[in-house]
């Protein structure tokens, strides 16, 4: 199996989650690809290490779906970079992703933390 297929599998696995994480990051203001990686790493306490091979395809797909928009701007360190900004459509998507995420966490949680007496019955 090719490396390309490997990456694709990872995208598929993370798809919903990664999209949500990116959109959430952009809630705090326009950001470039490198910035998104750093932000996710910092906020997750170094747990979430997003690979570029997943990030860029995801960003370009989100743009194609109209959830983000991009433009070229100078960064504070005079570096020209492509900044992504969340759109109104993207915000709606984020809300629905978040809702779904919460339901999943709740559902998984209720399975994982079952009280012993209930399971015995």
């Amino acid at each position: 199996m090719s490396e390309k297929g490997h990456y694709k599998n990872r995208i598929e696995l993370l798809q919903g989650t990664l999209d949500m994480l990116i959109l959430q990051t952009l809630q705090w203001g326009p950001q470039h690809g490198y910035g998104i990686v750093q932000a996710l790493r910092l906020r997750s306490g170094d747990v979430l290490q997003v690979e570029t091979g997943s990030l860029y395809p995801a960003l370009h797909r989100l743009e194609r779906q109209g959830w983000v928009q991009s433009e070229w701007k100078q960064s504070e360190s005079k570096q020209k970079a492509r900044y992504y900004r969340i759109t109104a459509k993207g915000k709606k998507q984020l809300a629905s992703d978040l809702g779904r995420w919460e339901r999943i966490v709740e559902a998984i949680g209720s399975v994982m933390y079952v009280k012993p007496e209930e399971s015995a019955s």
């Binding site: 297929g5 995208i11 690979e51 570029t52 370009h60 360190s77």
Partner: protein
């Protein structure tokens, strides 16, 4: 490698590159700020980022692509796949190229002959050729000038009707007389054909019926004999010792209105004004014109025929005595016009094209088999692609594209091959006295034909396996290693179907070629009823060289005396016709006192022969006598009839002494000759009357019976003729056997091509069955190993593998036989001395095909049998 560059794609690629660069710059800057050295920071950032080209590629996938980019990618992928299996790619391309070339070659022949019956003419689809009387495969000119003029002037359905008479003549005035082919034409000839002069002008309306010593040259004659003289118009040239003025030159490629035959010169109907008799009579020798009409727009051929029929009925009513016999008019489109070569072409070429299409189908089935086998072994790859998100349409498109790429390459190869093979058609026609111009042509319609054939092939080869494979559920394939053992039952059925199809398609090809080859052998072995092995013929252009009538008779006698005296010559005689050379002369003949019914055809073939003609050809005179030197112009006119004519006119009576009226003159029968072949060995016998050469002969063909090889005597005969008069034009000095081979040209074409196609078919069918059986046996290696390990004998293994081959072959042969019985009926007309369902040929062909197929199964079976079961089981 960019096949289909596109601005959008390139711009986005560039931007992505910049985006990645920015990412790396920022990462490096951060690391440097944390105190790393520039070099270490760069390396770490690169490592962290990962494989840049891969990121670019997977990101690029997210953009979605234009169809052009998509196609470019698919084509690249197809090439990559084909490069991975060069054996398959080369085999499939070669087979397809041969099959496409077979089709395009036959098509180029059809295109060069039937589809372009009159080179240079405008809209030949609107042209029709006219026949009068009983429809005939090789008719004689149908109309007299006066009848033609009445039809031309009184019809309501034609925008124009032309008339011509094709003949040969000599160009004198040069060092050596040169034979050229000439047509006497109506003044509107070039107008009706829609041809404009390249130089000068064509004929004027007022020149038609009066003496107009004008001549139009063909482009090739102008080029070869007059060295492209730019001032040729207005000059005088000598034709048959008469000066004619050149008034124009026809454009390049124009060769006249008789399909397949060439004219070098055109003159009016009576250029010298000395042929008044022919211009003012309606019967006998005045019936000399071939007629072609151009239909008015919107008029059908049937309407036009009815219209002309009405006019003709009025003419017959006005001149009944000049129109005895059958006078009905019928019209043919030029592609199958019986005047010229197209009648023969129309009987041969479409059948060959049908064979070639069968070869193409067969090849597609074969390539599809190969492709399918390949796809089955590639199905894990396909399944992975599918599970990675490639949808079914994409996969099918990809696979069809591989077939299309193969066949486009094959089409290109076929195109190159066809430029050569299209010109091989002329090889089938021996040098003869007819100015044949038959050959294939490579023009845009052939190229389009090739493109269509190859596209068809590509779709047939690619779509079937693709459709098949795309239905395989990806999950099943990925999880089940077991599926690979037999390749899945539906694929097995499809493969079997393809093998059966290949056998079933090749059987009719083999059967037809067998029948045609035996026909050829029968034709060659048939007794034509006359001796042709020790005969030499030579044509002397006496009456076209400008001699007076008395001079001609004197020279004829001199020729007989001198040639007879040559050592090695047994008998010398004269005739004005050679049998089996695709030509004949015909005339209406009436027994004296006989009143024919209206529309009763009394046409008979005729030939004018001198004394000892029958003796030299070994045709027995059954009753009465042969001609003698005394049967000359002063003696009463005499006839010798053949058996068919005797039976037709005087059934149950003695024909000797009976009278026949031909051209309004009375001939008395003095002999009956045995029937012999006139045109083709397989003709239905036509009544023939022989007239005395010194009474009615026109063309002068010296016919010599030799003691040894006739070719050896050719120089001596030619010398003798030149000694008599050096100005005598002498042509076509050749053994009769060579001339009569012309009659079997078409049988040779049919059997040669059918044989080649059948051989291709046989090879394809056998390799097809071999490929499938060996593939399947390989797939079952594991199973066979188990069987052997469990106690099956080698004989059992052999039987197991062979049995599937036997089944497939059996079904294929059965289906093929049914198919063949339908197809052989189509060629029944071409056969001679053998039935379309000849059991011997059938048994022979079935045996050969069956035996070859079984042999093809035997080798994989043997391999399986000899395998060590232990390694076979391990190999999974």
């Amino acid at each position: 490698m960019k096949w289909f560059p596109s601005f959008g794609f390139q711009r986005r690629s560039r931007e992505l590159q910049e985006e990645i660069d920015a990412h790396l710059q920022m990462a490096i800057a951060d690391r440097v700020a944390r105190g790393e050295t520039a070099e270490a920071a760069r390396q770490a950032a690169m490592r962290e980022f990962g494989n840049i080209p891969l990121v670019q590629e997977v990101t690029g996938d997210m953009w979605g692509r234009g169809w052009l980019e998509q196609l470019g990618r698919d084509v690249r992928y197809a090439f990559r796949q084909l490069r991975k299996s060069p054996g398959f790619a080369i085999t499939a391309t070669a087979m397809l190229a041969v099959a496409i070339c077979a089709n395009s070659t036959v098509f180029s022949w059809i295109d060069g002959t039937m589809l372009r019956p009159i080179p240079g003419a405008r809209d030949t689809g609107d042209l029709v050729s006219l026949q009068r009387g009983e429809r005939n495969f090789s008719p004689v000119p149908p109309l007299s000038y006066l009848d033609y003029r009445d039809l031309r002037e009184q019809n309501h359905t034609f925008s124009g009707i032309l008339a011509y008479h094709h003949d040969w003549i000599t160009l004198t005035g040069g060092a050596k007389p040169e034979r050229v082919f000439i047509a006497n034409v109506s003044a509107n000839y070039f107008d009706v054909l829609g041809i404009k002069p390249m130089k000068g002008r064509f004929f004027l309306t007022e020149e038609e019926a009066r003496a107009a010593p004008d001549v139009v040259l063909s482009y090739s004659l102008w080029k070869t004999r007059y060295a492209e003289d730019p001032a040729i118009v207005g000059k005088s040239i000598e034709v048959s010792r008469h000066p004619l003025t050149v008034i124009g030159v026809a454009p390049e490629g124009v060769v006249g209105a008789m399909p397949g035959l060439r004219d070098d010169l055109w003159v009016t109907l009576d250029p010298l004004g000395n042929d008044g008799w022919r211009m003012t009579h309606r019967d006998g020798g005045a019936v000399w014109l071939n007629v072609i009409g151009r239909l008015r727009p919107g008029v059908s051929r049937d309407q036009a025929a009815q219209d002309l029929d009405t006019v003709m009925r009025n003419i017959v009513a006005a001149y009944p005595d000049q129109h005895l016999g059958d006078n009905r008019i019928s019209l043919d489109p030029m592609w199958r016009s019986p005047f010229g070569a197209n009648g023969y072409m129309a009987a041969t070429l479409p059948i060959l094209l049908a064979f070639a299409v069968v070869v193409l189908l067969l090849t597609c089935a074969n390539v599809a088999t190969l492709t399918l086998v390949r796809f089955v072994s590639r199905r894990r790859e396909l399944a992975i692609r599918q599970s990675l998100g490639a949808n079914r349409i994409q996969l099918v498109r990809q696979m069809v594209l591989e077939g299309v790429v193969l066949s486009i390459v094959a089409g290109a190869v076929a195109l190159a091959l066809t430029t050569w093979t299209s010109k091989t058609f002329a090889w089938f026609f021996r040098a003869s006295s007819s100015p044949g111009t038959l050959n294939g042509s490579m023009d845009h319609s052939v190229v389009i034909g090739i493109a269509v054939f190859s596209l068809l092939a590509g779709i047939l080869c690619g779509a079937l396996p693709a459709w098949r494979s795309s239905h395989a559920p990806a999950v099943e394939i990925l999880k089940a290693e077991s599926a690979s053992i037999s390749g899945g039952s539906s694929n097995r059925k499809l493969l079997s179907g393809l093998v059966v199809a290949q056998i079933a398609l090749s059987l009719p090809l083999l059967l037809c070629s067998g029948l045609l080859l035996r026909t050829l052998r029968n034709l060659a072995g048939a007794n034509p009823g006359f001796e042709q092995d020790h005969i030499l013929t030579a044509t002397v252009g006496l009456n076209i060289a400008g001699y007076s009538h008395d001079e001609v008779q004197l020279i004829r006698h001199k020729i007989l005396d001198r040639v007879s005296a040559l050592p090695g010559v047994k008998v010398a005689s004269f005739t004005d016709w050679i049998p089996m050379t695709l030509g004949h002369k015909a005339e209406d003949a009436y027994p004296e006192g006989y009143v024919p019914h209206p529309h009763e055809s009394l046409q008979v073939y005729h030939a004018e022969v001198a004394a000892r003609y029958f003796e030299s050809l070994h045709i027995p005179i059954l009753e009465g006598r042969e001609f003698t030197p005394d049967d000359d112009e002063k003696a009463p006119r005499v006839l010798i009839v053949d058996q068919t004519a005797a039976r037709r006119y005087w059934p149950g009576q003695d024909p000797l002494g009976k009278n026949l009226r031909i051209w309004g003159r009375i001939f008395t029968v003095v002999g009956v000759a045995r029937n012999s072949t006139h045109m083709f060995v397989n003709e239905s016998p036509q009544p023939m009357v022989y007239m005395s050469f010194f009474q009615e002969g026109y063309e002068n063909i010296v016919q010599v019976e030799t003691e040894g090889n006739p070719a050896d005597l050719a120089p001596a005969v030619e010398n003798t003729l030149h000694e008599i008069d050096p100005r005598l034009p002498v042509f076509d000095v050749r053994p009769m056997r060579e001339s009569t081979q012309l009659a079997s040209s078409f049988a040779v074409i049919q059997s040669t091509l059918a044989g080649m196609f059948a051989l291709i078919g046989l090879v394809l069918a056998v390799t097809g069955i071999y490929g499938v059986v060996s593939y399947r046996t390989q797939m079952r290696t594991h199973e066979i190993g188990l069987r052997v390990a469990l106690g099956a004998s080698r004989r059992d293994v052999l039987r197991l593998v062979l049995s599937q081959g036997v089944w497939l072959t059996g079904i294929g042969l059965a289906v093929g036989l049914a198919f063949a019985l339908g197809l052989t009926r189509v060629i029944a007309r071409l056969l001679y001395g053998i039935g379309a369902n000849d059991p011997v040929t059938m048994v022979y062909v079935v045996t050969v095909l069956g035996a070859m197929s079984l042999l093809a199964c035997y080798f994989p079976a043997r391999r399986a049998m000899l395998r060590n079961p232990v390694t076979a089981i391990r190999e999974l």
